[in-house]
Symmetry: C2
């Protein structure tokens, strides 16, 4: 490999961020560019040259497409117009100037939406240890979405056996895992999703006790009443906005709301106003945001936990795989319209 690639220029397809977005992202906000990339790693760098295999379409990425100055969370810092999209993905090491990685290793972490990436600082990358599962899993169930579900459910929800758990965006990468973790804990789990197909998936494949299409009819309050006749003890929040506002009214005393995402809000100029926060007092609710970024040290623990369950078929994961960088933009845009069934992944190459 070393000899084969060193100093070589390789054709490199890239998905480039065109300019700051307002409202929903459109395919035209991305440009597919053909260029060449040198596989030379700069001297004195401890970088890697990798071939990208799978890229995750993660809802948070929309924040990076707005012009703003976020100082609190690196993952929310705006993309530079004209630069390649960066996100969580799975790649294969082609060349390494880093003692922790070797040619041929598979890694996951932040990489570019392109055929090949030069990663100058591989500090945040993880080497993939188990390859007896689909490699794409490291952009989903075994990557950050999996960790988010694990951390969010275990550290924030304080769920106990018998609790009634509501998961929104339940067929998504995080939601489908939260539902399964909650079932393992002995909870009664209800999920909502945006199509009947996903609702069926939740009930037939993912082990949810109940599920509903929140877009069916206009009476979301009525749906909550029907599906939660005894109220909600734990709400795992992926949606935000008016859904959150209504859920607050259906929470039980001492309920907990783990705030993982608010996908309904990311494309709005001004977020929806939430009017029912007095429920926090009247019902003594705890509402807590979290980020799996704070728990990267838990990756090994989570990995051992999850890989075992996956091998035993006790934990399943539904992916929606778009093939080729040509389809990256439409796949990404689709997640904000609920077009994906399961975790949206872009397959750049299989190896």
């Amino acid at each position: 490999m070393e000899g084969e690639h060193s100093n070589m220029m390789l054709p490199n397809k890239q998905v480039v961020f065109k300019n700051y977005v307002e409202g929903y992202p459109k395919e035209s906000d991305f440009e597919l560019r053909s260029s060449m990339i040198s596989c030379q790693i700069p001297q004195r760098s401890k970088g890697l040259f990798v071939k990208n295999l799978y890229l995750g379409c993660d809802p948070y990425m929309r924040h990076r497409m707005s012009a703003h100055k976020s100082k609190d969370v690196a993952l929310l810092v705006s993309f530079q117009p004209g630069s390649v999209i960066i996100g969580l993905g799975v790649a294969k090491v082609i060349k390494s100037a880093n003692a922790d990685f070797e040619e041929g290793d598979y890694i996951w972490g932040m990489t570019g939406w392109e055929d090949y990436s030069l990663i100058l600082n591989p500090d945040g990358l993880f080497k993939i240890k188990y390859t007896d599962v689909p490699l794409s899993y490291y952009a989903g169930i075994l990557g950050m979405p999996g960790l988010a579900a694990y951390i969010g459910f275990n550290n924030v929800c304080s769920a106990k056996q018998g609790d009634i758990v509501y998961v929104s965006s339940a067929a998504g990468g995080v939601g489908q895992l939260v539902g399964q973790f909650a079932k393992m804990k002995g909870c009664y789990v209800v999920g909502s999703a945006s199509t009947d197909e996903k609702v069926n998936l939740l009930k037939s494949e993912l082990g949810f006790d109940d599920a509903f299409n929140y877009k069916e009819g206009s009476d979301f309050a009525g749906a909550l009443k029907r599906h939660f006749p005894k109220g909600i003890d734990v709400y795992f929040e992926n949606v935000g906005g008016s859904m959150l506002d209504e859920v607050l009214l259906h929470m039980n005393l001492y309920g907990r709301i783990a705030v993982s995402g608010m996908i309904s809000q990311y494309n709005l100029k001004k977020p929806d106003g939430i009017c029912n926060l007095f429920c926090l007092i009247s019902k003594r609710l705890r509402m807590e945001g979290f980020s799996e970024l704070d728990s990267r040290h838990k990756v090994p623990e989570y990995l051992e936990f999850a890989i075992q369950l996956i091998r035993e078929n006790k934990l399943v994961f539904v992916e929606d795989i778009a093939e080729g960088l040509e389809n990256a933009a439409s796949a990404f845009v689709g997640i904000y319209h609920g077009r994906n069934v399961g975790k949206q992944i872009i397959q750049v190459s299989t190896d």
Copy 2:
């Protein structure tokens, strides 16, 4: 006493709730009624006949003046039009049919806004043990407001030395104590209030490091920037609404918001919409409502803690005492306009 009062009818001034209120309560929503009350305790009741001394004007009471069905919190159940106002107060036992209380005991707990009350179920009442402090304190610093500050600060804020703490409605019955508890913990404490007089009180009497008049000028965001150049670690929430929305933007990573009250919202038909909840995720905030009602078992612990500090002048309490049931309505109405300086109390009688 027994002989003196048994079967006797006594003249009894009462503050009666006229009808459900929309918007701000007005003095005309109350009626001062002169009636007679029998000091006879019904047979088989374990009740008390008490003389009311001090009544607390507590912001939550506004909820009871609206027509609604609250099932979660007894204290939020609507008053019946035509019935006497019920609230937390201090009283003296005139007659007792209960083994736990004797004639002459002082008690605090739920009582009526009237000269005398027949309390059929004294289960929730506390006998007053220490009378070397003003008895009115049991409607404030040594009663539920004190417990709210203690529980809210200690159990919800997770404050540590050096934390930057913001207390809104800081000159109120709860806020002034939270500020002092936070100082004892070694925090940097800033309070806001609605007049310069109260701001001075916070700085000169109540030991706040800094304080500001949030009604001065229209630039609340600018005020937060000036008074919290390093952001806010802990927000003790008494106000809600647009204040909360702005505070969210000024919270630091891993900040905590203890939600004790939302006085700005109680008179609105539709509460303000809070738009900045995404900060819960981006800053990993915890926002938690609580009620001192859940911690009544902590009353003895809190009492021993506070009484000692009061005796040593290490904990002070500012009261705003209105004299006479004639002034009850205006005192109560005043708290929603910030007219009280310190905890608003109604003195019915001194003994």
